[in-house]
Symmetry: C2
DNA sequence: CGCGGAATTGATGTGCATCAACTCGGGTGG
DNA sequence: CCACCCGAGTTGATGCACATCAATTCCGCG
């Protein structure tokens, strides 16, 4: 038991470096000693259980967080009581960026399953980025990437039909998993149908119906949270609005 | 005539400083000599006429742009031929941020009217931010602010009804104008109804109908592009989903 | 003055939300 | 270990908000 614990702590250390590496360093190529310095300011936090919240909307912003294992969602409360799911976050992804501006977290993060995250105190990160140009560039890129993803979502919510949205969602998820070395066609969705619907601006029932329709059409195999994508090409066609059931393109 | 030209060039110089000041420096308080250095890398560009495009989707990313006068829209093409308006940009606002990540502009900017903008070569800006911590912080804040605005829009597109969207749009516009020292209740919309509808995920006809309905209800006065907001409180109530015509809150 | 795109207004259709009933699965306690 | 229970998910029936289609009107511009 204690033997296992030692192993697991060590593996977390490694995972922590790896994940920092993958999201902050890898794409730009950071010098090893700089990786060391970055690693020096990262704090390990205790593992999260389903529903645990590393930060909440309105809380003072102090740190960014990197997902190490598991998955989280972020959401914001609307003034009328309900909430909008803003994103689902997989290992290697950075969350909390929207808190930098006002110094207050603009959304809440919640673990969808047992997960591990790293905390990066933002003040220290800023000092470091001023010293390491490539790290600064990487930070700009990450923030910009987040903007790009959000504008993609604007397009989805503003222009796409229900089935286009779900197809786009499945493909996005698939690609992000694939980038982390996991299967692009066989995975588990850690979030509920309700959360998917909320994220996509659809009712739960619509999401459910679409899953069955996609399955009937042989595009996917659905078994509760276990998803297998059977026809990526057809899903892409649907996501891009070239699916079967469009009479003609809506021009709003 | 030549006298006028001299005056106008001088006033552009001043406007250029002012606008840089307002969007990049003012909120953080930058030392005067640093403002000078920032000003040193900013390039004036020739004035834009309606439809001119400072940058286009797919083009190599080199610079950010600050709106000095007038207004622009940004939009992205969807794979099926239509386009999604991503935002409208007023004096003092920074555009092009979404190009940093991939080094390629992710959207196209287009002037809605005769406008003036400044170009900020991003490479030089990066060098400068590494030297001036408060400027670096300001850049992080600006990028984060953009993310925050996008997530606000996600909420609008994902959860709100047509009238909530238009009310939210008018209020957002009003507040942004007010922050630049203009009237919050009396202004001109430089974009067409079609562009508003596209931005809000609505058909032109719906936008038009809502304008007349709001006018009939005494909330606004509409005269083509000239808008006067008559009841900010009621508009806010509508934008927040507490408007009159909701039977009960939808819980998707 | 007359043309053409933008905006408005009305009539009709439909995609998806909503309401409702039922099934499934997994966790709990007896 | 099984019966129960409760939330998650599915499926069907209905309604409505908004898109779409169509017909004017309005305004800017040549």
């Amino acid at each position: 038991m204690s033997h296992q614990t030692v192993i697991s702590i060590e593996s977390i250390r490694i995972a922590c470096r790896n994940c920092t590496l993958s999201s902050l360093c890898l794409p730009m190529g950071l010098a090893p000693e700089d990786v060391e310095r970055l690693d020096g300011i990262i704090r390990r936090t205790r593992p999260l259980r389903r529903g645990d919240r590393p930060f909440q909307e309105g809380e003072r912003f102090r740190s960014l967080f990197v997902v190490k294992t598991g998955s989280l969602k972020t959401f914001a409360a609307t003034r009328d009581g309900s909430e909008q799911v803003l994103g689902f976050h997989l290992p290697g992804e950075l969350i909390g960026l929207d808190g930098i501006d006002k110094g207050v977290h603009a959304c809440t993060a919640s673990a969808l399953e047992t997960s591990a995250i790293c905390e990066i105190p933002f003040g220290q990160l800023e000092e470091l980025t001023a010293l390491i140009p490539s790290l600064q560039h990487q930070m700009y890129r990450l923030l910009s990437k987040e903007i790009g993803h959000d504008t993609d979502m604007l397009l989805v919510l503003g222009k796409k039909t229900a089935e286009e949205r779900l197809a786009a969602f499945l493909l996005d998820f698939s690609q992000r998993l694939h980038r982390r070395g996991l299967s692009a066609t066989d995975f588990y969705l850690s979030m509920s149908r309700h959360e998917i619907g909320n994220y996509l601006g659809l009712a739960v029932e619509t999401v459910s119906r679409l899953f069955t329709r996609f399955q009937d059409d042989g595009l996917v195999h659905v078994e509760r949270k276990h998803i297998r994508l059977l026809d990526l090409g057809a899903l892409e066609a649907i996501a891009n609005g070239q699916g079967p059931c469009r009479h003609q393109q809506q021009q709003r």
